[in-house]
Amino acid sequence: MENKNALIIGIRDEESICYAIASEIKRAGYNLYATYQDQTTYNSVSRVAEAMGIKKIFPYDARNDEDLESFSSAMKQEGVSLDILVHGISYSTAEGAKLNLPLVDVTWEEFTDAIRVGAFSLVEVTGRLLPLLKDEASILAVTLRWSNVAVPRFNVVCATKAALESIIRGLAQSLGNAKKIRVNGISPGFVSTYSLSKIGNRLEILEQEKEKSPLKTNVRNEDLAGLAVSILENRSVTGMVYSIDSGVGIMGR
């Protein structure tokens, strides 16, 4: 059987959305490669890697030019060609990130870090790894409904996700042209992750979401992972952002 490879950028620990997606990709028969942000997350990512049988993990902090350089050349040295790339990083996972500020109090430096990590890194990684990406490879990014709305004190995240979704469409056009590569996003409702705890009390947020849902459920990790793999492998889907939120987004107040 042909060797199928997937690179996952965005595993932090077993609660990460990317962990659920990676597990499902693994079940679908792909070899996994992954990144970790820095030394503080190395332990949890290598623990996950060992348990899942991830072939190799690379350090990549999307804020650093040097990291982008060393990570992309390490990937090239590895000599794997990629069928799948999953992008699930955002600045909210960075220590000390000041995202809960009104826009007028956010500095330009903080803003650019957020945009680079949560959105433009998708451009940078795909640009650098383009020689490794097979023709008809598939890319998936994890976004959030906040791209379309305002959330006072978290509007930096909103701007980042808006940029990410626009980049999904732009890359679907340019990479489709270049190598028939497809680029999509999934926009999950809230799930219990480390990132969610940066927004507030996880249990309270999830309880409120459940109340808003017409199904009175939260999104299950295995469901969004199943959707992710389905989108990744569907050759007629590109430039899309599919939401999976137990119907929360369709409800009026």
Binding site: D105, F111, A119, I167, G170, A172, S174
Partner: protein
């Protein structure tokens, strides 16, 4: 009655969309306070502002706090307060590249000038307390924020950021009675647009895609802009003004 004042950043010459907006504001009795990018641009900006009776123009480049403070100082010295701030600036050094070839440096610079400057300038105007409650802030976007428009490349994501910032500022400044909106005109042949690869083809596509078979005029764009700026019930909105081309798929009838 007190004359209302509008700070207009983004007039390059008579073809600029910001020029059309300044003219409409002026026709509605606003005192226009325009900026110009540099000495080279000044005579072309004056071609727009002289007929509007503007006596003072201010040099302004994004990130130059001293220049912005000079405007603030002038407002205070003259006892003027702003009712309107029009943000009509954009910049992209690698617009001719495919998106996946664009460097972070170029994307960052473009984001600063074309998007985040809206936050920076607004923030400084508020800090200096020269923006009146009930005031309207308007910026200029483009449908490339929602659709991958060939040739528009990196500016699509940058305009997405801009529109998210419009919603964000609107949500946060509503308590001060300040409204923040954008208009999103169809393609207009401006100096900025001439940098976009295949722009005349884009104009053609917009025209033939419109059920009206034309593109938006500067005058009509100016009128919608003025409505959005002055209507107290509109905030956080992005209004398209493109003769319907972005909501239409036209299909040529079959030739026999």
């Amino acid at each position: 009655m007190r004359r209302k004042n509008a700070l207009v950043i983004g007039i390059a010459n008579r073809d600029s969309i910001s020029a059309g907006i300044a003219e409409e504001l002026s026709a509605n009795g606003y005192n226009i306070i325009p900026t110009y990018l540099n000495e080279k641009a000044l005579p072309y900006v004056k071609e727009v502002t002289d007929p509007l009776g503007v006596s003072r123009l201010f040099p302004f480049q994004v990130g130059n706090d001293q220049q912005l403070q000079a405007i603030v100082k002038h407002l205070r010295a003259e006892g003027l307060r702003l009712d309107v701030f029009v943000h009509g600036i954009a910049f992209a050094s690698e617009i001719k590249k495919e998106l996946h070839e664009v460097s972070w440096k170029s994307f960052m610079d473009s984001t600063r000038v074309s998007a985040f400057s809206l936050v920076e300038i607004t923030s400084q105007l508020i800090q200096a307390d020269v923006l009146n409650p009930g005031g309207g802030i308007l910026t200029l976007s483009y449908i490339g924020s929602h659709l991958a428009v060939e040739g528009y490349n990196m500016m699509g994501p940058v305009k997405s950021i801009l529109e998210a910032l419009v919603r964000g500022l609107a949500s946060e400044l509503g308590g001060k009675g300040i409204r923040v909106n954008a208009i999103s005109p169809g393609p207009v042949m401006t100096r900025a647009a001439s940098g976009i690869k295949g722009f005349s083809n884009l104009l053609h596509v917009a025209q033939t895609g419109s059920p009206l078979n034309r593109t938006a005029s500067i005058e009509d764009i100016g009128k919608i802009a003025f409505e959005v700026i002055s209507n107290p019930s509109i905030t956080g909105a992005v209004y398209l003004v493109d003769c319907g081309s972005s909501v239409t798929i036209r299909v040529p009838s079959e030739q026999s």
